[in-house]
C-alpha cells in the first residue's frame, strides 16, 4: 500500500515536470503542423508531404509532421489522438470515416487547435475543407477530345464511352459527368455509351475494352478513369490494331486517363499513341493549398467553424498533347511536382 502511494506521488511529480516543460517549449517553438495523409505508399501523397514540409518551413517557418494513415481507419483515428497529445498547433486531416474522432476534435478545437480537412470531410464538423478539383479537368478533357476528333474526322460522328466506376459517387461527380458534359458541349449529337464497369483492375479493363470495341468499332473517344485501368485499356486497343495515331492526328480514337504517372507522360507525347491526355494530381499545389488554408484560419482570414463555408478546390493539372506546348514543359512539370529527375523521352 505504502509503496503504491510512493509510486503514485513520484509519477505525479514527473508528470507535472514534463507538463511544465512542454508548456514552456510550446511558447518558444515554431508552429507545429500535423499533416495527415491516407497512405504514404502512394507517390502522389508522398510527394505532396515532401512539398508541405518544404513550403511550411520556407514560407511560415513552421514545422510539419506527417501522419501516415496506412490506408487504415483505426490508424488514422489514433494518429489524430497522437497529434492532439503532441500539442500540434494546427492539423490538416485526411481521415476516412471520421465520425469517431469528432468528440476529440471538438475538445481540441476548444483547446485552440486549428483543424482543416482534405479530401474526406469529418461528418458534422464544418471545418474548412479542401478537395482536388477533378471536375473542370474532366470537362476540359472531354471538350478537347471532341474538338480534336471533329477536326481530324469531321464526317465521323463522335461515339464515346468511359470505363471505370459506374456507381461511385465521387467518380461520377468528378470524372464521368463533367467528361460527358465536356464532349457534349462541343458535339451535342455525340452518341454516349455510358460508363462500363472495370473496377476490378487492368485485366477487367482489358476485356471490357476488347468487347466494347468489337461490338462498336465506331467508338472514338474513351475516358479510362484510372491509371491502373489505362494499362489494360491501351494494350487491348493495340491488340485489335488500334490505339495508334498518325503523328498526333487521331486515326481510331482518342484516349484520356487519370493520375498521369510518368509512363503516361511519356505515352501522351508519343505522336503514335492514341493516349493523348491525363488528369494529373499536382503535389505542389495541393501542399500549398493545405498549408495556406491552415494559416488563413490561424490569421483569422477563414473562420474555423462555418457550416455554410464552401469547399475549396485545388485544381488538378491537365497533361495533354494539345495542352502543353512541348514535351519538355510536361517533363519539367512532372519533375518539379514529384521531385523526380526524369529526362525528356525521344520518340
Amino acid at each position: 500500500m505504502k509503496r503504491t502511494l510512493v509510486v503514485c506521488v513520484v509519477l505525479l511529480l514527473c508528470a507535472s515536470v514534463v507538463f511544465a516543460q512542454a508548456s514552456r517549449e510550446r511558447a518558444e517553438q515554431p508552429l507545429k503542423i500535423g499533416y495527415f495523409v491516407s497512405t504514404l505508399d502512394n507517390s502522389f501523397h508522398q510527394s505532396h508531404s515532401v512539398w508541405a514540409e518544404r513550403y511550411a518551413a520556407e514560407e511560415y517557418g513552421a514545422q510539419v509532421q506527417v501522419f501516415d494513415g496506412r490506408s487504415d481507419v483505426t490508424t488514422m483515428a489514433e494518429n489524430f489522438d497522437q497529434a492532439y497529445a503532441q500539442g500540434m498547433n494546427m492539423v490538416s486531416l485526411h481521415i476516412w470515416q471520421g465520425e469517431s474522432i469528432r468528440p476529440t476534435a471538438l475538445e481540441a478545437l476548444d483547446d485552440g487547435m486549428i483543424i482543416t480537412s482534405y479530401f474526406d470531410k469529418i461528418p458534422e464538423l464544418p471545418v474548412p475543407h479542401i478537395m482536388p478539383g477533378e471536375a473542370e479537368i474532366s470537362f476540359e478533357m472531354g471538350r478537347i477530345a471532341a474538338e480534336q476528333w471533329i477536326q481530324a474526322h469531321p464526317n465521323k460522328p463522335i461515339v464515346f464511352v468511359q470505363v471505370g466506376w459506374p456507381d461511385h459517387e465521387g467518380v461520377t461527380t468528378g470524372r464521368s459527368q463533367p467528361f460527358y458534359e465536356g464532349v457534349m458541349s462541343v458535339a451535342p449529337d455525340a452518341e454516349y455509351l455510358g460508363v462500363m464497369d472495370a473496377s476490378r483492375g487492368a485485366d477487367h479493363a482489358f476485356n471490357v475494352i476488347q468487347d466494347l470495341v468489337q461490338t462498336r468499332p465506331d467508338i472514338n473517344i474513351i475516358y479510362s478513369q484510372a491509371d491502373n485501368l489505362t494499362v489494360g485499356t491501351m494494350p487491348a486497343l493495340r491488340q485489335m490494331g488500334r490505339g495508334v495515331m498518325d503523328n498526333g492526328v487521331p486515326l481510331t480514337e482518342i484516349v484520356a486517363s487519370v493520375d498521369c504517372p510518368w509512363t503516361e507522360v511519356v505515352e501522351i507525347f508519343d505522336p503514335s499513341s492514341s493516349l493523348k491526355m491525363s488528369m494529373g494530381l499536382p503535389p505542389k499545389e495541393t501542399a500549398i493549398a493545405r498549408i495556406d488554408l491552415m494559416m488563413d484560419v490561424y490569421n483569422g482570414k477563414v473562420s474555423q467553424l462555418d457550416a455554410g463555408a464552401e469547399v475549396i478546390y485545388v485544381p488538378n493539372t491537365l497533361i495533354g498533347y494539345w495542352t502543353q506546348d512541348t514535351v519538355e514543359e510536361a517533363v519539367a512539370w512532372y519533375n518539379e511536382q514529384f521531385g523526380e529527375n526524369e529526362t525528356v523521352p525521344t520518340y
Partner: protein, 348 residues
C-alpha cells in the same frame, strides 16, 4: 473332400469382356453435355448480341480466357484430388509485381515505386517463378504436413501472395523504368489478337491432357481423389503428389502473372482479382467434381468459354455490372444442377 453341387440354371455363361462401356463413360458424357451447353450459349449469344458472331470476337474470347485456362489447369488437377487451391489469384498478382520489381531499373532514387532491382529480365522471370513455387510449397506444407483443410490453407496463401504484391507495389502498380523486353511476351502476336498467352495455353492444355490420361502422375490424381486412404495403402506417395500439385499450380499462376504483367507493361497488385474463384468456377462448371476423382482439364476449357461468352456478351450489350453477376450466377447454377441431374439420371 470337395462339396460339389451343380445346377443347370446357375451356370454362368462365359461372356466376352469388352474394353469399352458399349456406351460412353460418365466423363465423356458430361464433357459432351457441357459442349452442348457451350454450343447453346454460343448460339444464343450469336443471335442476340450484335457482331458477336465474328472471327474477331472469337479471337478476343480466346485471348481473354487463355490466362484463366492456364490457371485452371493446376486448379483442375488439385480439384481432381478432392482439394482446392484458392491462392492462384494472389499468386498471379504477386508474380506480376515481382517480375516488374526484379526487372525495374535500380537507378532511380526518389520514389520507391519506380526503382527496382535492375536484374536482367530472364533472371527476373526465373526468380519470380521460384517465389511463386514458394507460395505453393507453403500451401503444400500446411496441407500435407499439418493436415489443415486446403480451403483454409490456400485462403491464407491467397492473402499471403496478394499481401506481398500489395507491399511491393504499395497497393498500386510498378510500371516505371521497365526494360523494353519486359513487354515482349505481351506484344508478341501471331495473328490479330492471338498472343503468346494463347499459344502457351494451347500447349499447356495439350500437355495437361496427356499427363492426365496417359501418365502415372495423372492416374494418381484420380486415385487420390477417389479414395486417398486406399491410395496410401496401395503404396502411392499421396502426400508427395499433393505437394507437387500445389507447387505446379502456383508455378502456372506465376507464368500467368508474368504474361499479364508483360501484356500491361505493369506489375499491378490489383490484377487478377477474383481469379481464384473464377478458376474454380470454370473447373466445376465444365464438369469436374469438387468431391474428387472425376474431371478433366478439358472441362475447365469448356467452362472458361461458357463463362467467357457470358461476360463478353454482357460487355458487348453494355449491361451494368450487377446484371453481369446475376447472369453469371444464374447460368452457373443451372449448368451445375443440370450436370448433376444428368449424371444421376444416367447412373440410377
Amino acid at each position: 473332400m470337395t462339396v460339389l453341387t451343380t445346377d443347370q440354371e446357375g451356370m454362368k455363361q462365359i461372356k466376352h469382356v469388352s474394353d469399352s462401356k458399349g456406351t460412353i463413360s460418365n466423363l465423356t458424357f458430361i464433357i459432351f453435355a457441357m459442349v452442348g451447353v457451350l454450343v447453346i450459349v454460343f448460339t444464343i449469344a450469336s443471335m442476340i448480341v450484335p457482331r458477336f458472331f465474328d472471327l474477331a470476337t472469337m479471337s478476343n474470347l480466346l485471348v481473354q480466357q487463355s490466362e484463366l485456362i492456364i490457371i485452371g489447369i493446376g486448379v483442375t488437377f488439385i480439384v481432381i484430388t478432392g482439394r482446392l487451391d484458392l491462392s492462384v489469384g494472389g499468386v498471379v498478382a504477386m508474380a506480376g509485381v515481382l517480375s516488374a520489381y526484379f526487372a525495374q531499373a535500380n537507378t532511380r532514387a526518389e520514389f520507391s515505386l519506380s526503382s527496382g532491382l535492375g536484374l536482367p529480365y530472364w533472371l527476373a522471370v526465373v526468380l519470380t517463378l521460384i517465389c511463386c513455387m514458394g507460395i505453393g510449397a507453403v500451401n503444400a506444407l500446411f496441407i500435407v504436413k499439418f493436415k489443415i483443410a486446403s480451403i483454409i490453407v490456400t485462403l491464407g496463401g491467397m492473402s499471403l501472395a496478394r499481401g506481398i504484391a500489395m507491399i511491393i507495389a504499395r497497393g498500386a502498380q510498378r510500371n516505371v523504368g521497365l526494360p523494353p523486353e519486359f513487354g515482349f511476351f505481351g506484344r508478341f502476336s501471331i495473328i490479330g489478337t492471338i498472343n503468346l498467352a494463347v499459344c502457351f495455353m494451347i500447349v499447356l492444355v495439350l500437355i495437361a491432357l496427356f499427363v492426365e490420361k496417359k501418365t502415372v502422375f495423372g492416374r494418381k490424381l484420380f486415385l487420390i481423389g477417389s479414395n486417398k486412404t486406399a491410395a496410401d495403402l496401395s503404396g502411392i506417395k499421396t502426400d508427395r503428389q499433393i505437394a507437387q500439385l500445389y507447387i505446379i499450380s502456383s508455378f502456372l499462376a506465376g507464368v500467368t502473372g508474368i504474361l499479364m504483367a508483360s501484356k500491361f507493361c505493369s506489375g499491378n497488385s490489383s490484377i487478377a482479382g477474383g481469379y481464384e474463384f473464377d478458376a474454380l468456377v470454370i473447373t466445376v462448371l465444365g464438369g469436374t467434381s469438387i468431391h474428387g476423382g472425376f474431371g478433366s482439364v478439358i472441362c475447365a476449357v469448356i467452362g472458361a468459354f461458357i463463362l467467357g461468352i457470358l461476360s463478353t456478351s454482357v460487355n458487348m450489350l453494355g449491361y451494368p455490372p450487377a446484371s453481369q453477376l446475376l447472369v453469371r450466377g444464374f447460368v452457373i447454377v443451372i449448368a451445375i444442377l443440370a450436370q448433376r441431374y444428368a449424371l444421376n439420371k444416367r447412373n440410377v
